[in-house]
Amino acid sequence: MILRLKYFGMIAEAIAKEEENVEIQHRTIADLDGLLKRKYPQLVTLEYQFALNQTLAGMDEIIKDGDEIALLPPFAGG
C-alpha cells in the first residue's frame, strides 16, 4: 500500500526531505518505524512521535492504504 509521509522540524532537516510517498507491506506504526530507521539511520538518535491522519498515534496502531503519517520532533509552540 501507498502512504503519504511528512517530516517536520529537525526530522525534515536530518533526512533532508519534507515529504515523500512510500510503498510498504507492513501493518503497524512500529513496522513503519523499523523500515524508516533502516532507510534513514540518522533517525535512531532523534526524538519524535508519529501522527496518523493528524492525530498522535501509538506504535501498535494499524496503518491503512492512503493514510497520512507524520514524524513530529519535540514541540516548541508558545
Partner: protein, 147 residues
C-alpha cells in the same frame, strides 16, 4: 467524516500590539463580559553556550496544528464558562522581543477567564505540533523543545 471547517490559528510573522488592541476593541460590544485574560508569548534573547538567540523560526504541521488548536479551544469552552476564546500562533521568523503566541479568554467573572487562559496556554505548549529553530547571531541555529 465531519466536514467542520477548521479556523486558521496560524499567523505569518510576529503578532503585533495593534492586532491585540483590535481584538480587545472588538469585545467591547459584548456587554456580558466582565473579565478578560490575555497571555502573550515573547521571544527571549536566551544565551546558549555563549551565543545569543536573535529570533525563532517557527514551522508547523499546519493542518494538524489547526485541528489541535480547535480541540483545545472547544475543550476550554466545555470546561469553563467562557464568552469568547481566541488563539493565534506565529509561523515563520519572530525576532527577539516580538510576540509569537496570543491567547485571549473572556468570561462574565475573572476566575473562569484566568483558568481558561492558563489551561489553553499549557495545552498549546504540550500538544500543538509547532516546531522552532532558535537562530543565533552568527546564523547558526538549534532546535527548540518545550520538554
Amino acid at each position: 467524516m465531519s466536514e467542520k471547517k477548521i479556523k486558521n490559528f496560524l499567523v505569518e510573522g510576529p503578532i503585533t500590539p495593534e492586532k491585540i488592541a483590535t481584538s480587545i476593541a472588538h469585545h467591547q460590544v459584548k456587554t456580558n463580559i466582565g473579565a478578560h485574560d490575555i497571555f502573550l508569548g515573547q521571544v527571549r534573547a536566551d544565551q546558549i553556550e555563549g551565543k545569543e538567540v536573535i529570533a525563532i523560526d517557527y514551522s508547523a504541521y499546519a493542518e494538524m496544528a489547526n485541528k489541535v488548536f480547535d480541540e483545545i479551544r472547544e475543550a476550554a469552552f466545555d470546561k469553563y464558562d467562557l464568552t469568547c476564546a481566541h488563539i493565534y500562533h506565529s509561523i515563520g521568523v519572530v525576532k527577539v522581543g516580538e510576540l509569537c503566541l496570543f491567547v485571549f479568554t473572556s468570561s462574565k467573572h475573572r476566575a473562569m477567564a484566568f483558568d481558561a487562559c492558563r489551561y489553553i496556554t499549557e495545552e498549546i505548549k504540550a500538544k500543538a505540533p509547532v516546531f522552532g529553530k532558535e537562530v543565533f547571531e552568527n546564523s547558526s541555529f538549534q532546535w527548540k523543545s518545550n520538554q
